[in-house]
C-alpha cells in the first residue's frame, strides 16, 4: 500500500514549517525520513495523517485516510514517545486501539509477546522506561497489521539489542509488501535499516531516492600519480570532474575506477593509487542539509577561548 504525499504545506505564524513537499513512500522497503532538528519531519507526518491542518493531501492506496472505513488497518502510527495514559494498563491501551479493526484478545497477546511486554501487560505504564514505552507504542502501531507504518524516532531510548530487533522487524515488515516510513536522527542506523530515504531541510525536499543513489552521487575516485597535471587533463577530456588533492592526488567524480584506470593507461601515466571513496549517509546528509540546521552549535573551538 504505497503512500503519496502531494504539495504538503504548513505555516506556524510567519514560519513556513513545511513547504510544497511531495514524495512517495513505496511498498516493500523501509523509507528513512531524514532532516535536521526543526526541518519539519514530525509536522509532515502529522499533516500526512490529517492530524495537523495545512495544505496538500496524502493518499493511502489512492485515497485519503479519512475515506478508508478502518484507518487502523491502513496505517499504524507511533508519533510520540509516551502515547498512553500512565494509569491505563498496557493491555487495556491496546484493547482500546483494537476496537476499530475489532481484533480479538489473542491478537493483543500476540503483539505484546512480539515486543517483549507480556510480563508487564497488566501493569500501568507510568513506571515504564523510555524503551518500554517505545515498545508499547510500536505494539499499538502494528496491532491491526496495517499496510503502512509511520514511526517518528522509534529507536529513541532503545538499547542496542532492541535497536537491532527493531531494524530486523521493520525490514521484514516492509518485505511483506508494506510501506514503512521511519524518521530518525541516527544516520548510521538509517544506513543499515532503510533502503529508500527522503531528506528534508527547512520544510523542503532536498533528496529523495535510494540510499545507493544518494551516496553514489557524492562518492568519488581517488587517484595518485607522478604526473597529476597531465592525468587531470586526460580525465577532464573524458568528461570527469577533477579536483586536485594534495601534491599527487586527484579526486574524480563522474567516472568509475575502471574508466579512470583505463584513461591513465591510455595516456601512459603510471598510477600509484586508485580507489573508490564511498560517502557515508552521514556525509551525504551533512552536505544536503549543512546550512539548514535550526539553533546550530557554534564552533567547538570556541569553548576553549578565553576573552582577553
Amino acid at each position: 500500500m504505497a503512500v503519496i504525499a502531494e504539495g504538503l504545506g504548513k505555516s506556524f505564524g510567519s514560519v513556513r514549517a513545511v513547504d510544497d513537499l511531495s514524495f512517495e513512500v513505496p511498498d516493500g522497503v523501509v523509507t528513512g525520513f531524514l532532516g535536521p532538528n526543526g526541518a519539519g519531519k514530525s509536522t509532515t507526518m502529522r499533516l500526512m495523517l490529517g492530524l495537523d491542518r495545512g495544505q496538500g493531501r496524502t493518499l493511502f492506496d489512492g485515497k485519503p485516510l479519512i475515506e478508508h472505513p478502518h484507518a487502523s488497518e491502513v496505517v499504524g502510527t507511533h508519533l510520540d514517545a509516551r502515547p498512553f495514559l500512565p494509569g491505563r494498563t498496557a493491555r487495556d491501551h491496546l484493547r482500546m486501539l483494537a476496537t476499530d479493526a475489532r481484533l480479538p484478545a489473542s491478537r493483543i497477546d500476540e503483539v505484546l509477546a512480539m515486543v517483549g511486554l507480556t510480563e508487564v501487560a497488566n501493569k500501568r505504564p507510568k513506571s515504564f522506561s523510555l524503551g518500554m514505552a517505545q515498545r508499547l507504542g510500536l505494539a499499538g502501531a502494528v496491532l491491526a497489521s496495517p499496510g503502512v507504518l509511520m514511526l517518528d524516532e522509534p529507536a529513541n531510548g532503545l538499547d542496542p539489542q532492541s535497536i537491532q530487533w527493531l531494524r530486523e522487524f521493520l525490514r521484514s515488515y516492509a518485505a511483506e509488501g508494506n510501506a514503512v516510513l521511519v524518521s530518525s536522527h541516527l544516520l548510521s542506523e538509517m544506513q543499515v535499516m532503510a533502503q529508500h530515504v527522503v531528506v528534508i531541510a527547512r520544510g523542503r525536499l532536498v533528496a529523495d531516492g535510494t540510499i545507493e543513489e544518494l551516496v553514489s552521487e557524492r562518492s568519488d575516485v581517488l587517484v595518485r600519480s607522478d604526473d597529476p597535471a597531465r592525468l587531470a587533463d586526460a580525465l577532464r577530456a573524458a568528461g570527469g570532474l577533477v579536483e586536485r588533492e594534495g601534491d599527487d592526488g586527484l579526486a574524480v567524480t563522474g567516472m568509475s575506477t575502471d574508466d579512470v584506470g583505463r584513461r591513465a593507461f591510455d595516456a601512459g601515466i603510471a598510477v600509484r593509487e586508485l580507489s573508490r571513496r564511498r560517502a557515508s549517509l552521514e556525509e551525504t546528509f551533512m552536505e544536503l542539509t549543512g546550512d539548514a540546521q535550526e539553533f546550530a552549535f557554534g564552533p567547538t573551538g570556541a569553548a576553549g577561548e578565553v576573552p582577553s
Partner: protein
C-alpha cells in the same frame, strides 16, 4: 459510529478514576444526607416533619455536589487525551473528527446518567435511613421517582457536559472542572445578590447554574424551561468547541 463508541467505552471504563468518581459522587452526598437527617431527627426539640414522623432533606439540594464530583469525567474526556498526547492516536484511528466528538458526548452522557441515577438512589436511601436510625421510622421520599428525579438527572448530565465542552474548547482539564464549579457556587450567587438589590427578577432565566438548580426543584413548564436554558448554555460552549476541534491541529 460503533467503533468510536467502543473506543470511548474502553477509554473511559479502563481508568480507575472513572469508577472512583462515580462512587464518590454517590456515597459522599448520601453520607451527608444520612448525617443531616439523623441529626435533625435526633434533636429533642424537633417537632415537625412529614406525617409518618421523619424529616428528610430531599435530593435536589445535593445534586450540585454530585455534579461537581462527576465534572471530572466530562473534563477528562478531552483533557486526558490532550494532556498525554493520546488525541493523535485517537484521530489516527478514527480520522472523522465529528464522529469522535459525538462518541465522546454520547459516552459521557450514558455514564453520567447511570452515575446520577446511582447518586439519587443513594440519597433517597440515606433520606430513609436517617430518620430510621434516629428512631422515627423509615421515610421514603418518592419525589425522586417522578419528574423532579428526571430533571435531577438531566441537571447533572448538562453540568458535566459543561465541563466537557469547556475542556474541549480550552484544552485545559483543570479549567474545565473549576470554571463550572466556581460559577455555580461563587460567581452566580454574587450576581444573584446584586440582582436582588437591583430587582432584576429575570436573572434566574439567564444564569445557567442558578436557573438549572431552580428548575430541578421547580414545577411544570417553568422548571423544564430552566433546564432548557441550561442546555442552551451548554450549546454556546459546545458548538465552538466542536468547530475548533474540526479545525485545530491535534
Amino acid at each position: 459510529m460503533s467503533g468510536p463508541l467502543a473506543y470511548e467505552w474502553v477509554r473511559i471504563s479502563t481508568v480507575r478514576s472513572t469508577w472512583a468518581l462515580i462512587l464518590v459522587g454517590a456515597l459522599v452526598p448520601a453520607a451527608l444526607v444520612l448525617f443531616v437527617t439523623w441529626l435533625v431527627n435526633s434533636a429533642d426539640d424537633f417537632q415537625g416533619g412529614p406525617p409518618d414522623g421523619g424529616a428528610t432533606t430531599g435530593f435536589s439540594g445535593f445534586l450540585p455536589l454530585v455534579a461537581a464530583v462527576l465534572c471530572t469525567i466530562g473534563a477528562a474526556s478531552f483533557g486526558q487525551e490532550y494532556r498525554h498526547g493520546l488525541i493523535r492516536i485517537t484521530l489516527a484511528t478514527y480520522p472523522r473528527r465529528s464522529t469522535v466528538f459525538a462518541a465522546k458526548v454520547i459516552m459521557v452522557v450514558l455514564i453520567v446518567i447511570l452515575a446520577a441515577i446511582l447518586a439519587i438512589a443513594c440519597i433517597v436511601v440515606a433520606n430513609a435511613l436517617g430518620p430510621a436510625i434516629a428512631g422515627k421510622g423509615v421515610t421514603w421520599d418518592t419525589s425522586a421517582l417522578g419528574p423532579p428525579g428526571l430533571r435531577g438527572i438531566i441537571y447533572v448530565v448538562i453540568f458535566v457536559l459543561m465541563a466537557f465542552a469547556l475542556t474541549a474548547l480550552t484544552r485545559n482539564q483543570p479549567l474545565g472542572i473549576i470554571v463550572p464549579v466556581v460559577m455555580a457556587v461563587l460567581i452566580e450567587p454574587i450576581i444573584q445578590t446584586v440582582a436582588l438589590v437591583q430587582e432584576w427578577t429575570w436573572i434566574d432565566w439567564v444564569l445557567p447554574f442558578t436557573g438549572a438548580t431552580a428548575g430541578v426543584g421547580g414545577d411544570g413548564l417553568e422548571a423544564w424551561g430552566h433546564l432548557g436554558v441550561f442546555f442552551l448554555w451548554f450549546l454556546v460552549l459546545a458548538i465552538p468547541a466542536w468547530v475548533l476541534f474540526l479545525r485545530r491541529d491535534a
